[in-house]
Subunit: 365 residues, 2 copies
Amino acid sequence: MDPRVERHAELIVDQCTEIDEGDNVIVQSGPEAEDLNVALFEKIGERGGMPTRMTLGGRAMRSFIQAVDLDAVTPPEHLVGLLEAADVLINVRAASNVAETSDVPPESMQAFAQIMEPIQEHIENEDTEWVLTQHPAPGNAQKAEMSTDGYTDFVYDAIDQDWDAQEEHQEQLVEILDPASEVRVVAGEQTDISMSIEGNPAVNSVADKNLPSGEVFTAPIPESVEGTVRFDMPVIQHGREVEGAYLEFENGEVVDHEAEANEDVLTGILGTDDGARRLGELGIGMNRDIDCFTANMLFDEKMGDTVHMAIGRSIKESVGEENPKNESAIHLDMILDMSEDSFIEVDGEVVQRDGTFVFEDGFED
Amino acid sequence: MDPRVERHAELIVDQCTEIDEGDNVIVQSGPEAEDLNVALFEKIGERGGMPTRMTLGGRAMRSFIQAVDLDAVTPPEHLVGLLEAADVLINVRAASNVAETSDVPPESMQAFAQIMEPIQEHIENEDTEWVLTQHPAPGNAQKAEMSTDGYTDFVYDAIDQDWDAQEEHQEQLVEILDPASEVRVVAGEQTDISMSIEGNPAVNSVADKNLPSGEVFTAPIPESVEGTVRFDMPVIQHGREVEGAYLEFENGEVVDHEAEANEDVLTGILGTDDGARRLGELGIGMNRDIDCFTANMLFDEKMGDTVHMAIGRSIKESVGEENPKNESAIHLDMILDMSEDSFIEVDGEVVQRDGTFVFEDGFED
């Protein structure tokens, strides 16, 4: 086995989740992630945990969603039973075809997401430790327009880093955002958006819930978001790409939207529920070892010189105890390129210009 | 997709398990069974059930068992949680390598089986509907010494039959065994074994808990088994073959054993627990459409002109309410060829000679 697979498994069980004796562990992974699954079962066993493998998604889930009467089904109780007794959930992405659900009508995907929402909420609320990671598979390499072996190098380079040094670097931004009230993001001619983050923690995300990681994120106060934003990178939802998504916010809600391609998909996403028309996350990518877009949000949103905003559900740890939390069946990240013609303002002070932070060499106020 | 895969899925959800609206279904299947898994998710969805895929066994389970301290682990609570809320369990076998656990020490496999025993008991006792079936995979074809395509034909020929006609044929034997007390099986020079089945039902097994099926089975009263038996077909346990297993019973317990090859594996199996040294099942194969041995018990034990006996756990439905039930972490079937130099006696009457039943043409008393 590629020793990098073993190293990946070690980072997951020791750094991201800290598996201990007696831990009940779920490994959510498909057939494409067989090698990582084998390595995980070994490392989990060495630490005295008890693993069970579950597979969601892929071809089977597509055929289920196409066949079932979505009005008649309820959240699966046996899956709830599995999760209730689990201490750790390791979610491994790996696809032989990332377009596997591209022919499922968006409204069916949304209805299914709503059915599964209690499952998602359960994971976040029940003190289940979780991590989302990527095993390099041919479908993901193809989406990134890379060879499978080239993509494999890219993935492991991004995963196996000096996470302590990265945490220290990011802490400088956390210290700016944590006590702050107002954030304004300006880029190009169409993006000028402001929001309050008062009382919401800025999370220093290194190898923890995402692997790779390398971002600082927080949650906007849902009703505070005002302005417009044009996203630079395509938003991929269930294998379909929304290009050039544009959103206009008033009192925190999307009041207008358009897209350069597949606008109907964006319309469908925004129609999922009330929370899908509000921002749930503001994130700032700070991982300069991720050096190209691969059409995979787990990596893209961590890239240096980018900002991302997610519509839908907020991550629990980024919401202050006294503050409202945006709820939704979805959480969809969208990315802005901040490398030129852009700045981030915090409480009226510019803290990043054209991708360079105030605490970095080369910053000019 | 091969239309036989779709037909297989239909038989599983309609005939073996009768999936209805709201049923929580577990599909236990590995990467090799991807096509059947996709077809099952579709059929389950059409009937309003909710499927979850779980994978046990294979490479990952081997690496877990090799790594973990088996003295320190307990039955996985999250798996119990999943099973407790499940209505139906569909267990699909398919291997790319049937020898995947051949390098795990037999005592580790036994210890693991004991840890998992509560899971197995739960399935049998909690009114969970279950079925065990086979998807044709290259490893199973290789074990059968067949091409993958030839094996695929063999599997679907065995599965897609006129099960009503088969049931009628088998009912003739059920009518003999159901009211009977004593069964004696004699074959060759080394097999002469007697047991009481008084009060234990004879089960007419067609497409229900096994697919394919085609056998009539019951349970011996555990303490009643007396005599000797030499099994003709190799017994395969975790990828290792015990050839020519021989058992001698006194007061229902194995008091002597030997084997022509891999006797240590047999010794290990018999040492699992007390129930592993007693018979849990007497079965009579009646499916003449299974016309060759494929080193796969799911098929071999159903073959016409054979008898099988299992050491270990009895199947619940074959034990009368007033009667003792043999319990064990294992259930291991072993096969006798009855095609020549053999007979079965029920309450002193010969009911099968050289493979031909009393109710068939060609029987000579």
